[in-house]
Symmetry: C2
């Protein structure tokens, strides 16, 4: 459905004129050297609109792209330029699309983050996203305005190695699994509930989806699992089970990514071990596991061997972690050739680990280490900030706060307001970089009242920044939740994890040898996670909990660096708020 045109052309992405000419020259030279070395511009024409869809057999209105859900998969090669001409055909809502995991070096206006990189695209208008995919890996894209991601606005983005390059592992074929969760309540109701007094929590999702398909209130495995009713599904229905056809005795790469609104997930395949080889677009030291934890915002590649009895098909099962699961596992079928795709496995689906077995989760997470050859972190940092994650109250509203500041996004995109030094675009008070030494992370906040701000952590360009993400007890006793934190515009090194409150001593335990590079990392209940990154990408960038309702409740911060070095921001990105006013003529 996605109109897809590939042209071996011309326009590079760098910001300024000189770089542009230079690259143009380089490109021409490369073209002359032979087509296989040249990158491509990959053009897509997308239209965002409401669609009736039955992702879990129940019909709802979703936000789709080109009439389909999930959105079309983008496949590209490292070094390619992606050009998405996005038309907003929602009747009254603005829209943006974030390219999750793509660093947008030199194109910070293409990050697709409302209030940061651009103004929402207005109904009936077109915005052109043009950016380079510089690193092979498993990515995805999604709405980043209001809670539109949770309405189904997402899809896969797969970047293969450039022509002539090789992955550091072998595989014969590839399977793509985009995981998500699905609520029957529309996002408008969800948003107003989260912003109401009394607070109305969205609850657990009704269904888990694999590539946009799930089954509500029935099970594909009803014939082998007691207490579940069979699904009445035809193979043409939108909630028909996903089947992955494989040949026996081969190696397959499974690309797994999660764009859930809330759920932390675990994926297991009956009878098949998995070897993890990639996380968030970065290679990791291969390690074998029976199941894989995937938090919202994360992606992995795992290799499997199709070395099992080929007369059978096998369940792929996706279950909930970290929250008492009220949502049944999603199932898909690993279909060994030449079995019929619809031949249901006769074994019981693999049972994913118990939701609160954090030992299991930590064991998995701690195994993720950089593959040799991955850039190492600088040996020290210029700045250390500790970000305490707390659940709070603000005039009766329930919020999430970072160092007692709950993020409120401004109407003017930070990128424009910082670059053009616009007064009153956001709160200029510096947000705090630490929290009281006597704060007890094991208990509910003594004073639950919080504050709101749109303040920015201004980072020195090219400086190295350490962030300690410190988890804590929520508002109720004995509750501390998982939060997967996602950084825009950068990868970061995960230096370490720990229990309880981070102390100076913990610095000694930092892994500087082979810490994994990632864009999303989890903090475990009552624990801390330490990351390091180099502020080398001029722009304004969100760093936030990837749980959609948590971000909506203020769980994020804003980083900005080298904004004065940012090239010409396309006017089309700045037609709102104070940038809209500034960019306007006095009167035509």
């Amino acid at each position: 459905m996605s109109k897809h045109k590939e042209t071996p052309t011309t326009l590079p992405m760098m910001a300024e004129g000189a770089a542009r000419s230079l690259l143009l020259l380089l490109c021409c030279l490369l073209s002359m050297l032979g087509g296989s070395l040249a990158w491509k511009a990959r053009h897509f024409h997308w239209e965002v609109g409401y669609v009736f869809w039955k992702p879990d057999c129940q019909e709802k209105v979703m936000i789709g792209i080109n009439g389909q859900f999930p959105g079309p998969t983008i496949r590209a090669k490292a070094g390619d330029i992606i050009v998405v001409e996005l038309k907003n055909s929602l009747p009254t809502e603005g829209v943006v699309i974030h390219w999750h995991g793509i660093r947008q070096m030199g194109t910070p206006w293409a990050d697709g983050t409302a209030s940061l990189s651009q103004c929402p695209i207005k109904p009936d208008e077109v915005f052109v996203y043009r950016f380079k995919v510089d690193k092979p890996g498993t990515y995805f894209y999604h709405g980043h305005y209001g809670m539109q991601r949770a309405a189904g606005l997402y899809g896969s983005l797969v970047v293969e190695v450039a022509d002539g390059e090789k992955e550091p592992f072998h595989y014969d074929g590839e399977l793509n699994l985009l995981l998500s969760d699905w609520y029957h309540q529309d996002i408008y109701t969800q948003m107003v509930g989260l912003s109401s007094v009394p607070f109305r929590w969205i609850g657990e999702p009704q269904t888990l989806l694999i590539n946009g398909k799930g089954q509500y209130n029935c099970s594909l495995a009803a014939h082998v699992v007691a207490e579940q009713s069979a699904c009445e599904i035809t193979s043409s229905s939108q909630c028909a089970p996903v089947t992955f056809r494989v040949l026996p005795k081969k190696t397959y790469r499974l690309r797994i990514a999660s764009t859930t609104s809330l759920a932390s997930l675990n994926l297991a395949i009956a009878n098949h071990k998995m070897v993890v080889v990639e996380a968030d677009g970065n290679y990791v030291q291969p390690f074998a596991v029976d199941d894989v934890d995937v938090y919202s915002g994360e992606s992995y590649s795992v290799l499997i061997q199709t070395d099992q009895d080929p007369s059978s098909n096998y369940w792929i099962s996706v279950g909930v972690r970290g929250r008492q699961p009220k949502t049944q596992p999603a199932l898909a079928i690993l279909n060994y050739y030449p079995n019929a795709a619809e031949k249901l496995p006769t074994s019981v689906p693999p049972v994913t680990p118990v939701w609160n077995d954090y030992t299991h989760s930590k064991s998995f997470t701690y195994k993720i280490l950089a593959l040799q050859g991955t850039p190492r972190p600088p040996s020290s940092s210029h700045r250390l900030m500790s970000l305490l994650n707390t659940q709070n109250k603000l005039n009766g509203y329930t919020k999430w706060s970072i160092n007692n500041v709950s993020l409120v996004l401004p109407p003017t995109p930070y990128l424009g307001s910082i670059k053009h030094r616009l007064a009153n675009a956001f709160v200029t008070v510096k947000p705090p970089e630490s929290f009281p030494v006597d704060y007890n992370v094991m208990k509910p906040p003594v004073n639950p009242n919080t504050t709101q701000s749109s303040g920015v952590y201004m980072l020195e360009f090219n400086s190295t920044v350490d962030v300690i993400l410190q988890n804590a007890n929520a508002l109720s006793e004995n509750i501390s939740e998982i939060h997967p934190w996602h950084l825009h515009g950068h990868d970061f090194w995960v230096l370490g994890y720990g229990e309880g409150r981070f102390t100076k001593n913990d610095v000694k335990s930092f892994n500087l040898k082979n810490p994994p590079l990632r864009n999303t990392v989890v903090i475990f209940p009552y624990g801390w996670t330490a990351i390091r990154f180099v502020a080398d990408n001029p722009g304004a960038w969100a760093f936030h909990c990837h749980i959609e309702p948590h971000l909506h409740m203020g769980m994020g911060v804003i980083f900005a660096e080298g904004v004065e070095l940012v090239g010409r921001i396309p006017k089309e990105a700045m037609t709102c708020g104070l940038t809209g006013k500034k960019f306007m003529n006095p009167y035509p």
Copy 2:
């Protein structure tokens, strides 16, 4: 809840500098003559946002103003300036508010019509509506973007006579009844359904509302009407019955307006005759009736005498006309002092006329004639256009068309694109002013295929225009629907009505003596209605069926006149589409 500040100030509404100074001078002079003659600027601070509400005892998400539904009632005096600072606090949707019945002489940018007078106000932004209410009458306001009116975005706007002036009738007190209908399906689902193949009609409303209150699936009159179940309502609930307290032996003015999405209504009060005295902000020759038809977009004032047995309360009943009613009547209570407000009448509620008794409706409509002293129409017109209303198909989609053109609204507001002569803002092909002589209005279209356009009927400034609204058979045999047509920016004279196809001979029957002035008029099934107006208001104006889904399906046309005379359009109104681009600096 509405923050309301009255200041006896200064800023007049006229467009150009000279007029401004002149008016300022006049105003000062008037102020010196005495406060009673001076108009007031009435300031309102409104915030539009989602609210949980139970308009008919069932909780839904609605679009409210300042946390309430319906929006606050504006009361002003003729000559006042209304200033509404509207903040859009919807998370992702734009918004506008149309001031229905206010002509916006000199302020066409304040008409609150997306794609015509302004760009939608973006989330988190503020737009200031500033306009004069020059004529006393019963008006209302509502959203005019997508189908936001149907989400509850509306309220009353009452303009009293200026100080020192008198209404041409006496009354002791006033009651306000804003009528509407309510769907449990959200507007996003409604919109995508109307724009789907196969077509999904929204069906009949679940509930009729009086001042935003109704009762779903139960009846206040269950104790006197068989087959209905009683409502379980406390007096504090949002769907508690509306009660209007009156003193015996007095005259009351009931202001009645309808902002229904679909339903045509009829209102009756047990034991009380009504004398109609006003229609759409214009006085009419008083006439007595037992019940009043009110189509969407219309308003009336009626006088009642509280001359009945004062020991009883009386039902006010609102029922459906023109469509087989699947929605039960709305009830309110006329509460004679000193009876308890909650004392339910012991009689059966008045039964409104049978839905398809068009003879009754026509009889009522034909009685509406201008009060002596009302301006008369010019005796002839410069231009006559016939607008055939048909239901059609376009690539499988169901549409409504005017002379086989279904209106599609452009992203750039007409007001800006016409004034600044922007190319490619809308289709410049002139829309047709007539339809084939052999078109059989009594039958479904022989060729149901239609076309789409954003074309404009350009009217010569100050010319007199006659429009024949010609009804016809819909797509199915033996169906022709009621359509209430509403004109922005003008009142028009209703010259006459007729059955079947309008012919030249019918011109002779035009009433040029005392045709009523209105802004909304109905066309009856298989009939025609003739109107005349003077194109004396520089601007771009919508003329459309006021049924929300019909407009969404293309049932409207655009008129524009004297746009070159329009003063400085506030930049804030033009921040989208091609005007947004034109108004932007090359680069700051």
